[in-house]
């Protein structure tokens, strides 16, 4: 419990530092001006969206091997946070594109593959909502998450492979690069903590439901934060 409290204090501090760095310390880009600052948020949430998909796939695989619902809760938490980050990626990317390219959306390879990733996340939630049995739901979601991982390399290589217009590792001032790395790390810690707490909440809700149903609860089963 103490560890969670420390994290809950440290994470906002780290995030606040990142925001201060983005808006006050990072140099303003010559061509795009203040709009370029979207990049720090965009890259951070895009990375968290991909990391969410990978985490979901890894937790799904572990569920298939061990059949413990705690891994399904972790996969679901990662999926929810990943979907949120994926949505933010599309919104922030669209804002950036409007200023840089003059359009809100274009069917560029990386944009298309990112939208596909968003659809996969959304489809997973619909499937989860349609199955009542927890283990069947966990198995189906785990298998889909393993297949969904295939979209991650596509998002990463899309621009290089298909010569899209999305920027790839652009030349950047060292100050900007340092702020970008700090922002990515801060948002990773923030979304990691949110996913962890959500997984813990799902796990506890499951145990409460078991107790209410009068089932035997396996107190030795692995839990979050234990």
């Amino acid at each position: 419990m103490r560890d969670h409290t420390i994290l809950a204090i440290v994470v906002p501090c780290v995030l606040l530092t990142a925001l201060l760095l983005i808006f006050w310390i990072a140099p303003t880009e010559a061509t795009m001006g203040q709009v370029q600052k979207i990049l720090y948020l965009h890259v951070s949430v895009a990375w968290c969206g991909l990391a969410g998909c990978l985490t979901m796939g890894v937790c799904g695989t572990i569920y298939l091997a061990r059949r413990r619902l705690v891994w399904d809760h972790a996969a679901r938490a990662a999926a929810e946070v990943g979907w949120l980050c994926s949505s933010l990626t599309l919104v922030t990317g669209s804002l950036w594109a409007h200023d840089a390219w003059g359009v809100w959306w274009t069917w560029e390879p990386r944009l298309t593959s990112s939208f596909v990733l968003w659809l996969i996340y959304a489809g997973m939630f619909v499937v989860r909502g349609g199955i009542d049995d927890p283990h069947r739901r966990a198995r189906t979601a785990a298998l889909l998450s393993v297949v969904a991982i295939c979209d991650v390399p596509l998002v990463i290589v899309a621009t290089r492979w298909f010569r899209g217009v999305h920027p790839v590792s652009p030349e950047m001032d060292p100050g900007m690069r340092a702020v970008l790395v700090t922002a990515v790390l801060s948002f990773t810690v923030l979304f990691g903590l949110i996913a962890f707490q959500r997984g813990r909440q799902l796990d506890l809700a499951d145990r409460v439901a078991e107790l209410e149903a009068g089932q035997d609860v396996d107190y030795d089963a692995p839990t979050y934060g234990a």
Partner: protein, 228 residues
Amino acid sequence: MPVGHALKSFAWLVLKDLAEEFRGRRAWPAMLLLGLVLVLLLGVQTDLPETQKLQVVSGSLWLAIFFAGTLALECSFVAEREEGSWQTLLLYPVSPGVIFLAKVTINCVALLFLECVLIPVFAVASDAPFLRHPLSLAMIASLGNLGFAAVGVIVSALTAGLSHRGSLLALLLLPLATPVLLAAAEATRLLVLDDVGEQWWRWVQMLVAFIVLFTTLGLLVFEFAIED
């Protein structure tokens, strides 16, 4: 398991599904009819100037194949589920990988049958030169079928026992199969534009990469997908 036994079982599973389709006509006629309706609807939209038309016809053709093919994929496990032979299928003395490959093969055959009708009809209806490079087109169609069927059979097995399997299958299959459909549609577009160069080869490579990926995944996870 001896390779000979696996091959024999594979052939029996494919023949069983083929015989079942010929006797019951469960999926193919509906799939063909839906494909033709889609060709009609999408063909009307391709009444454009030549340069614009050549850019969009391939995407329209692959959309028609995808939506019509989904019907065949949806029925992949319906017979076993509805007629009580699901347990029998699971008790076959073969590895789940063989069942997966047999289901992929039967779906590839269904998609090939669909394309043999849809491509000439769409070529006539849209007046687009689809048959400019017939061998390359056949290769793209076969690769597209294989990739689409591989990912489709995994999703179909997962959704087979669910109450809204039709809508769930389409909902999940479209995003998961997008890389395959995109690569097949783009490779076909370049064939229609007579631009068989480095870019075309890139799309073919992507198609092959996703076939290898989905088939390997299918062989690894199919055992979990058909659990009851």
